[in-house]
Each structure stands twice: as structure tokens, then as C-alpha cells.
Symmetry: C2
Subunit: 458 residues, 2 copies
């Protein structure tokens, strides 16, 4: 192990140390992620298939499995400087509270108004849309972090922004809506009555609280049927993982600068954007055989795509209008229980991460939400930061690993991603504070049913 410098609580890179290139982990994968398929033809999607939906440059990024580095356009670099670098933080107080010999670090992406890492990709997607001369973009949002991030980026670059917000979050998090409106976005609860798919789902499932998959369908429908609009997505896609690599590149630069060598890297996983971004350069080293790391994905037990899903082609949305992606999935008809408080409620998982998991480069664990909020509360009290429920999945796993070190006496170095803050999740915290929060784990029958409905692909 390299000689360790005196580690401050918070490590900031200099502005000129912010990455100027994104790293594309696909370039170092021997087994590339499977191509998305056109659901009509069953053949791999082409750039022509995707350009009605996505901006042209993003389509290139989406389909490019070979280019290892993409230059970050100067305009995006300038915007990044307003909220990056994010700090790498040594959790001295958590270590002390746990009495662990482990060293715990976290990369904190929550110190911007969107409250999460989502702004890294929103910046890029808004920029390319503007550059292409578009009028606006549409999207979906679950917990609201992605929608907020996109609203901010659209305000900065001067684009219209239409957000379909999963109804349960729209109702539980009305203040998120107001943040988005303050940035000029138009916010609609999903399923809405404004789209064909929304009206259909409302008719089939009256009173549904919605799902990310359904909101995606609505946003795509509006994008492809409106002049000058494209659809943007905050997770799952290859392009999003590419943009989010800025998290891992910064984390790695800080580790190198301060002589930190992580043994275990932990991230929460919904669609995979944070985890994919955080681990990117570390995974690159692992894929190239230069270094070894334990890499752990943490998902909610109420939406366990890695740990209980299947690796298969599936739609990314409920309405079955998107291309098919090969990924770990619970089936596009799966909707997590309404009492699941956090985000990470997507039925599938990034195809890149799915392939890496399938090939044994990563582990996955599922954790229950009461234990997640217990970890969140402990973390908040000793480290100060009130974490997002999503991020707290990673905290739970990091604490569990640190407690294992306490038992074994091993001085492992743990790095986890703290994706965001929980300021807009106080309804969930209130449930936890009141002792009314429960755990909900889907039954095998539930999962068998949604998985049985997967599309048939040769």
C-alpha cells in the first residue's frame, strides 16, 4: 500500500483537476453489453432508429462500445465548474461511532440543488439538445432528482423542459415539483391523461401510483410526437453511464492525490447511473487486469433486479414502446410496492452493469428499507449529512462491511458513493421517525408473474 498522507475530512480537487474527458468502460469490456433491439424488427437498433428519440451526438455515445475516452465539450466543462468538483470525504466520525478499523470514504454528489449526481448527465444531455437546435426535451422522474437536475440544466442552457413525475413521488414530494417549476419546467404526474399510454394505464389500473417505466413511456410519446423535442433519460443508458464516469474519475484522482487505495467500492443501484459512474475507472483497471477491487451494487429488497431478476431482453418502459435492452430485469410490468419510500424503483438495470455482473466483475446485495433508514439516521447524526434514501442503501452496505472489519480486525479501505441528500424525502423520514415504516419484499409469485410477461426474443 502506498504511503498514506494526512487525510483531511474533505478532499476537493482544484478546478483545473476536474476531468475533461469521460471514460467509456465498454471499451475495456471483453464481453460487450448486448445491443438494444428494435422491438418491431427484433434487430439491433441503429442510429437511424434512435435519432427520432435521442439527440444525434448522444446516439453516437450510446452505440460506441470502443472509444475509451470522449472529450467533454467546453460548455459542459464550464457548467461542471459551477457544481464540481464534488468532495471525497473521510467518514472519520462514522468510523469512530462504529469502532471499526476500516477506513471509510465517500464521494458526495449531493451539494448541488438537484441534490444528487444526476446533474452530471443532465448537463450533457441538455447541452447536446441545445447544440442540435432543439426547442426542448421531455423526461420522466421518480424521486424527483433527475427531473430537478434536468430542469436546472435546461434553465442554464435555455431549453424547454417537460417532466413526467411518478405519481407517488409527485404526491409525496410536492416541493420537488416546485423546485422544477422554479427552474421553469412543466411537471405532470404520471400516469397522466395527456398521452395515449397514460390514459391506457389509468384505465387498466385505476388508482395506480405509477412507475418509472410508465413515466418513461409518456415522456417518449410526447417527445416523438412534438416538433423540436427529444427524450432524455437519467439512468440505464450507456450514454448516461459515460457522463457519470466523471464521478469515478474525480474520485480516483482524489484517491491518487491523497494516497488512498480502496479495497471495496460500494454504490446503490436503481438504473445504475451512479454505480456505473462511480466504479467506471476502477472497473477499467479491473477489466484490464491492473488492479483488483471488490465492487458491490446495493439495491432495495423491494425492487431487486440484480439479486432476483433475470438476465434477459426487456422493454425499458411499461408501455413497451422503447427498444429492448438485455439487462437484469424484474419485467417491465413490475411496479414496486407503494410503501417503498426511496427511488431505485426501476424494474431493470443498466445493460453495461448487467453484463459486468453477469461476468462476475461485481457483487450485488439487496437491503430492506427500515435497515436502510437506520443506517441513514446513524450516518446523519455522526457525519452531519442527511442522506437520500437511495444513497442510504450504499451507507447500509458500507456500515455492514465496516462492521465485518470490526469482527475480523481487517483495516480495509471502503469507498462508497453518497449520491445525494434527503431534504425532499422527509415524508419517508417521518415514517421512520414515527416507527410506521415497513418493509415490503415482493413474493416469488409477484416476480414470476412479471418475469413471465417478458418479451420473447431469439
Amino acid at each position: 500500500m502506498a504511503a498514506e498522507k494526512k487525510i483531511p475530512y474533505k478532499m476537493y480537487l482544484e478546478e483545473n483537476e476536474i476531468p475533461t474527458r469521460w471514460y467509456n468502460v465498454r471499451a475495456d469490456m471483453k464481453n460487450k453489453p448486448f445491443p438494444m433491439l428494435n422491438p418491431g424488427t427484433g434487430k439491433p437498433v441503429t442510429a437511424e432508429d434512435l435519432t427520432p428519440v435521442f439527440c444525434a451526438e448522444l446516439v453516437e455515445q450510446e452505440l460506441d462500445n470502443d472509444t475509451a475516452y470522449f472529450d467533454i465539450p467546453q460548455e459542459i466543462q464550464e457548467y461542471y465548474k459551477t457544481f464540481r468538483p464534488s468532495p471525497l470525504i473521510r467518514a472519520y466520525n462514522l468510523e469512530k461511532a462504529l469502532g471499526t478499523p476500516a477506513k471509510i470514504y465517500f464521494k458526495f454528489e449531493g451539494n448541488n440543488t438537484s441534490g444528487s449526481h444526476k446533474l452530471n448527465s443532465a448537463s450533457a444531455q441538455a447541452y447536446y439538445a441545445k447544440k442540435q437546435g432543439l426547442k426542448g426535451v421531455t423526461t420522466e422522474t421518480g424521486a424527483g432528482q433527475w427531473g430537478t437536475a434536468l430542469s436546472m440544466a435546461c434553465a442554464y442552457f435555455g431549453l424547454d423542459c417537460k417532466v413526467f413525475m411518478v405519481k407517488v413521488s409527485y404526491e409525496q414530494k410536492p416541493f420537488r415539483r416546485e423546485v422544477m417549476r422554479t427552474y421553469g419546467a412543466e411537471v405532470t404526474p404520471s400516469p397522466s391523461m395527456e398521452t395515449n399510454i397514460g390514459r391506457k394505464i389509468n384505465a387498466e389500473f385505476p388508482g395506480t401510483t405509477g412507475s418509472l417505466g410508465c413515466a418513461i413511456s409518456e415522456a417518449v410519446e410526447v417527445a416523438v410526437s412534438s416538433e423540436g423535442y427529444r427524450y432524455v433519460l437519467g439512468s440505464v443508458l450507456n450514454q448516461v453511464l459515460l457522463h457519470q464516469s466523471v464521478i469515478g474519475l474525480e474520485a480516483k484522482a482524489a484517491c491518487d492525490k491523497f494516497g488512498i487505495e480502496p479495497d471495496i467500492i460500494i454504490g446503490c443501484a436503481g438504473g445504475g447511473s451512479n454505480l456505473g459512474g462511480l466504479i467506471a475507472p476502477f472497473m477499467g483497471e479491473k477489466l484490464r487486469g491492473e488492479k483488483d477491487y471488490r465492487i458491490v451494487a446495493v439495491e432495495p429488497a423491494s425492487c431487486p433486479s440484480f439479486t432476483r431478476g433475470v438476465y434477459a431482453y426487456d422493454f425499458c418502459d411499461t408501455g413497451m414502446i422503447t427498444p429492448l435492452a438485455k439487462m437484469y430485469t424484474l419485467g417491465s410490468g413490475f411496479i414496486p410496492s407503494a410503501n417503498h419510500a426511496g427511488g431505485l424503483r426501476f424494474h431493470g438495470m443498466s445493460p453495461v452493469l448487467s453484463q459486468l455482473y453477469h461476468d462476475g466483475y461485481m457483487e450485488a446485495v439487496a437491503v430492506e428499507q427500515t435497515s436502510v433508514f437506520e443506517a441513514a439516521e446513524q450516518f446523519a447524526r455522526v457525519e452531519g449529512i442527511l442522506p437520500a434514501p437511495e444513497s442510504s442503501h450504499a451507507i447500509r452496505a458500507a456500515i455492514d462491511e465496516a462492521l465485518k472489519c470490526k469482527e475480523t480486525g481487517e483495516e480495509k479501505t471502503i469507498l462508497f458513493g453518497l449520491t445525494g441528500t434527503g431534504y425532499f424525502d422527509m415524508v419517508a423520514y417521518q415514517q421512520y421517525n414515527d416507527g410506521t415504516m415497513t418493509d415490503t419484499i415482493p413474493t416469488d409469485e409477484d416476480l414470476a408473474k412479471s418475469i413471465a410477461a417478458l418479451p420473447k426474443v431469439e
Copy 2:
């Protein structure tokens, strides 16, 4: 002007550059602030008068007008490292949006879970209470930032925390309550039925939405009548301005490091803690005749203690149980209109700032809340940060100064304090977004009435 280095967007000091001493501006004042008076005897309060209410070391800090620097205890320095240094930020995007030749900088204190600068003094007050062997502390909170900060500091140092929260905020900001509860605090809406003064005010003014002055009375009553408790206050007091000098000291250190020489320093002013802290070292230079700065206090037109109050002895609370302080005041019976959305709703002003204002070292302006939210929205959209309504008073004034520079062509350097974030103020933002926000300015008759009720002091 010194040669200007290339200024990054965000300037962070190193951890070892965080101030290790607080600066007491009173030491450099020729005209000291007037002493507080014991309301029973009419004589200056003594340490003996104050120790039943405040921690012993804080009483010393409160009464010491001569010591220029106080060492920050090591334990507080350690805690500071978890949320400080705060960045000094160049508002490049705001400058561009305004088309101003002015250079705009802001010291941003909002990147911690309390969402504001309040944690600087909460840390100190909780530490001294713990060191004195107390069981807990009581306090009041208006917008909720101070209560959150104190809850965090009490969780860190291991103290009970009882918070009386102004009823209008308790209702408008239920999520603040949950943040405090997550940190283990007990939160009660004020006026409550748990204290003599609360019951009295509820009886006299049924349906009152409360005031900071009333909540102070309740918190003090509980502190002095409970074994092992003391009262702590988030603003107004000399000790609080002392602790908050860390803001100004850091800002000045960053200015010196990057070759920035402010011409105008702007801060919002409720009780004065942020403004007093931000300006402290700059005011010291001005008092010592070393430098000159324009220093501007910005207050809400709905609670205009500097611009429409009188400089007189008054109670700090509605219940008239605190010592009398000589300050700019609207009268302790003044309660701002319930449609006033932000904080800064205290009827008086820090005695230190009051004396400095009285002696002509500072200016003051009052601004109306719709214009404040207009500035907040503009700032949020170009600078990314969604500001607290309180902080946005300073933004309004900074924008106005920058626009004056645009007219005159002067390249002035403006430094303002961005005290916090508005994530828990979305009810107010919603009013603004919906176009239902109104301005309320107290009439001359309103003010004459509350000012006429000032205590008679020789």
C-alpha cells in the same frame, strides 16, 4: 488594486486554513455596544445574572468587549472540518446575465444539512454546554434553520435538544421538524400550551401564528425551570456574532489568497448573525482606519428594524423575560404579517450591529418580498443554487448594486453572504411560482403602536 489571479468559480481554503480563532469586532469599536440591562434592577447585567440562562463560557464571551480574538476549542475545530471551509464563489453566470461590469462574489454557507450558517454558532454553543456537564439545551427557531443546526450539533456532541418552533414555520415547513427529529430533537410549535408565557399568548391572541420573540420566551422559561438545561440563541447576541466571524475570516482569507478586494459587502439581516459574522474582519479594518468598504444590511420591508425602527432599549422576546438590549427595534410586541414568507422576522437587531449602524459604519436597505423572490429565481436559474428567502434579500441588493454599475460603467467588486438554501421554503416558492405572493409593509400606525410599548429606561 492588487493584481488579480485567475479566479475559479469556487474557491475553497485548505482544511488547515480554516480559522482557529474567532474575531470579536467589539474590541475595535470606539463606541462599544450598550450593555444589556437587568429588567428588574435597570442595571447592566452581570455574569451572575446570565449564568442561570446561558453556559458560563458563553457568558464570558457575551460580556467581553475587549478581547479581539478567542481561540476556537479543538473539539469545535474538528467539528468545523466536517462542514467547513465553505466556498467563496464567483458569480460569473449572474454577472453575464446582468451584463454588468461589476464582479460579484458570494460566500456560500448553505452546503450543510442545516442549510445555513447557523451551524457555526450551534457547534460552539452545544460544545460549551456539553463541556459544562449539562444535560441539554432549549431554543427557539423561526424558519427552522437554527433549530436544525442546533439539533445537528447536539446529536454530534451528545446533548438533549428542545426546540420551540414559530407556529407559522412549523406549519409551513413540516419537513424541517422531521429533520430535527431525525437528529433526535424534540420540536414544539410556539406559542404552545407547555409554558406560562405560551398559554398567556394563546389566550390573548387566539390563532396567532407566533413570533420569534414569543418562542424565545418559551425556550427561556423551560431552560431556567429545568435541571441541567440552558438556553441557547441563534442570533442577536454578541457571542453569536463572535462565532459567526468564522464566515468573514474565511471569506477574507479567500479574498487575500485570490487577490480579491471587495468594494461593497452585503448581507441579509434578521437578528444580525450572518451579517455580523460576514463583515466582522472587514469592519475591523474599517474601524481601525486601515481600509474602507461600503457595508450594506438588507432587511425585509415587512420587518424593517434598521430602516424604520428606533435605537432604544427593548426586550429580546415577546414575554419580556429576557434582559433589555439597546438595539434598533420595532418593539418586542411587533409580529410581522403572516404572509411574510422568509425568516428575518425578529423585531430587533444585534446590539453590535445597531451601534455600528448608529455610528455610520453601515448602511441599511429594506426590500419587498416579491422582488426578493424575483432575484432568487434569477439567481437559481443562472447560478444553480436555490437560495433561502432570507439569503435572497442579499441577492436582491447585490443585483441592484450590480445594475447600478452597469449604468455607471464602474467595475466594482461586490461580496455578499449567501447564508443558505431554500429547500425547505418551497411553500413560499410555490406562492411565487403561482403568482399569489404579495408584499406586506407595516403601516406607520402599526409601528407606532409597537414602538410606543417599548420599556421605559433612563
